[in-house]
């Protein structure tokens, strides 16, 4: 079985947002593998460790620096990586065309990708890849098992939690709760340096962005920050209720 695990490089969630040149500034900021994608890499490795014959391929699309997160995936235990190098920002619908082509040429059986991107806040990539390949999908997966070409798992829906079963090939989107991603060990980091990262250029995929970002602004809502000391609980409570009723006018 061959698993593609999609990894994206994003700004660490703990970094604050700064805008420069009509974009969120990434220069000099800590960039990491999207945590939502880490669950996918980890899950692929766990499927291999469960005894399945599995080939794990990490796929990254973006500028040269994306190699860093591919190396991280290799150090975690992925077998090899593919890097489609480009400085063009692709929206999830355009990006899905690139991934679908890679999945076809690699004859993948399972694709894992993060449920929501922590830079574009998009949930679209997994579903769009599935559609391009004509595969089913299960999103927001919190438990997964693969046996005899059947994936069984649990995922979150609008109404609650659902248990599902689906035959491979399938796209699964991952999230917190699925597993606890491992940290690469030093020997594995060394080993990862010798693993293959195949470089590819975006030109051969003939995709163009479908959505253009024309403006970016950091959230600008100013907060009142009226913080009270609660040592006298009833006085603080009285003051808060008064403020919410009369000043903010948000409660009856």
């Amino acid at each position: 079985m061959r698993i593609l695990t999609l990894v994206r490089q994003v700004m660490d969630a703990q970094e604050s947002v700064r805008i420069a040149n009509n974009a969120v500034e990434l220069d000099g900021r800590k960039l990491v593998m999207d945590t939502m994608d880490e669950y996918g890499v980890e899950e692929a490795l766990r499927l291999r460790e469960s005894g399945l014959q599995v080939d794990v391929i990490a796929v990254g699309i973006g500028p040269a620096r994306v190699e860093d997160v591919l190396r991280t995936a290799l150090a975690m235990g992925a077998d090899r990586a593919i890097h489609v190098e480009t400085d063009t920002a692709l929206d999830p619908i355009a990006l899905s065309a690139v991934i679908a082509k890679i999945a076809q040429s690699e004859t993948a059986d399972l694709i894992l990708c993060g449920g929501q991107q922590s830079d574009w806040d998009s949930q679209g990539l997994g579903a769009a890849v599935a559609e391009r390949l004509g595969w089913p999908q299960a999103t927001w997966t919190r438990a997964l098992k693969v046996e005899a070409n059947i994936a069984t798992g649990q995922h979150d829906t609008d109404d609650g939690v659902e248990s599902f079963q689906v035959q491979l090939p399938v796209v699964i989107t991952t999230q917190q709760g699925l597993n606890e991603p491992r940290y690469p060990t030093l020997p594995n980091i060394m080993k990862a340096k010798r693993k293959e990262i195949r470089k590819d250029s975006l030109d051969s995929y003939a995709v163009t962005p479908k959505v253009k970002t024309t403006g970016v602004a950091a959230q600008s809502r100013q907060r009142l920050k009226k913080i009270m000391d609660g040592k006298d609980a009833s006085a603080a409570a009285a003051q808060l209720v008064h403020s919410l009723r009369n000043e903010a006018q948000v409660i009856q």
């Binding site: 969630a13 703990q14 947002v17 805008i19 969120v24 929206d91 999830p92 619908i93 899905s96 929501q116 922590s118 806040d121 949930q123 769009a128 559609e131 089913p136 999908q137 299960a138 999103t139 979150d156 829906t157 609008d158 109404d159 609650g160 939690v161 659902e162 248990s163 599902f164 079963q165 035959q167 917190q176 962005p209 479908k210 959505v211 253009k212 970002t213 403006g215 970016v216 602004a217 959230q219 809502r221 907060r223 009142l224 920050k225 913080i227 009270m228 000391d229 609660g230 040592k231 609980a233 009833s234 603080a236 409570a237 009285a238 808060l240 209720v241 403020s243 919410l244 948000v250 409660i251």
Partner: protein
């Protein structure tokens, strides 16, 4: 035409559907505004939709009794193609955000995802949406004659029902078989006001101490305010509260008039689910908790004392 995909529960259109109709009217694009009703036994829903659209297309079939992303996307794409829709509006619920990318791919159309504003400018659709864990507003523009849009619930003004009733048409669809088998559904329905629709949300974190503490403090305060109940990931993972109440990156995103965070320190993943609330109130014993940095009002103190005092004060 503008195709508006309705969503419904318990025989009624959702609030998000009325907001889609509001967005459709405000967009400044040529109609007719066409509502699509998918489901089984949906005549009542179709009649309700006839008051917010200029025409209604109905697919009332047993195979549509349960949502499936492949079935839904196939249905919407077929109707969009046959009706030559230029704009397809879908509520950005978790389900909507799951099947709308498939519709976009089928139609070779751009997807404007989870938008909070939408208008036509010289034939181009321009939208605003939030990114970077809800901390950035982006203006985006669609490149293509046909555009799929998922619309963030709770943002657009809902359309008022008209007195005239639009004509209904049955549509014939060629639907695929669902391939994902649902083995078990744990619905977490409650009779409380839904999180996404609430004016006031009272949310609790591990700081409330225990499941019993959550019930006493968070549910108690929510009852007093007629508010919805929210919870952090940690509380849900600990099994204190159902997943349906989770607010944050992996739960629901809300922007009520008032968000009252009790015993929540304010991890960035939680903040991304509520940082657009109109008024944020934080109650926490740790004065350095990040939640206070985005709070309008806050009390530094013991939640076990403050919250009962608040309930007492509200009863007066």
């Amino acid at each position: 035409m503008i195709l508006l995909v309705t969503s419904h529960a318990n025989g009624k259109l959702t609030k998000a559907t009325y907001e889609l109709a509001g967005a459709a009217r405000a967009i400044g694009r040529e109609g007719p505004i066409t509502a699509l009703v998918l489901g089984s036994g949906v005549s009542q829903v179709a009649a309700e939709a006839a008051k917010i659209a200029e025409q209604v297309l109905v697919a009332d079939r047993p195979e549509l009794a349960h949502y499936d992303p492949e079935v839904w996307s196939a249905a919407v794409a077929q109707v969009a193609q046959e009706g030559e829709a230029h704009t397809i509006l879908i509520a950005a619920s978790r389900g909507g955000r799951e099947y709308s990318p498939r519709v976009a791919v089928k139609l070779d159309a751009p997807l404007l995802e989870d938008v909070v504003s939408l208008h036509d400018s010289a034939g181009k659709l321009i939208a605003e949406r939030y990114s970077f864990l809800n901390r950035v507003s982006e203006t985006i523009e669609a490149n293509g004659p046909v555009v799929v849009v998922s619309v963030k619930p709770g943002v657009f003004a809902p359309a008022a029902p008209a007195s005239e009733v639009a004509e209904q048409f049955d549509v014939d669809l060629d639907l695929p078989q669902p391939r994902v088998k649902v083995l078990q559904q744990v619905k977490e329905a409650s009779d409380r006001v839904p999180l996404a629709e609430a004016d006031v949300v009272v949310a609790g974190g591990r700081g409330v101490g225990s499941p019993q503490g959550f019930t006493n403090l968070i549910v108690g305060l929510a009852d007093q305010l007629g508010a919805a109940v929210g919870a952090t990931r940690a509380v849900v993972d600990a099994g204190w509260r159902p997943y349906a109440e989770q607010v944050g990156q992996t739960g629901k995103t809300v922007q009520p008039k008032a968000y009252i965070a009790v015993g929540i320190s304010g991890a960035v993943q939680h903040l991304s689910g509520m940082n657009r609330s109109k008024c944020i109130v934080a109650i926490n014993k740790d004065p350095d908790a990040p939640i206070f940095k985005i709070a309008d009002y806050g009390i530094v103190g013991d939640v076990q004392e403050i919250v009962p005092a608040l309930i007492e004060q509200l009863r007066k």
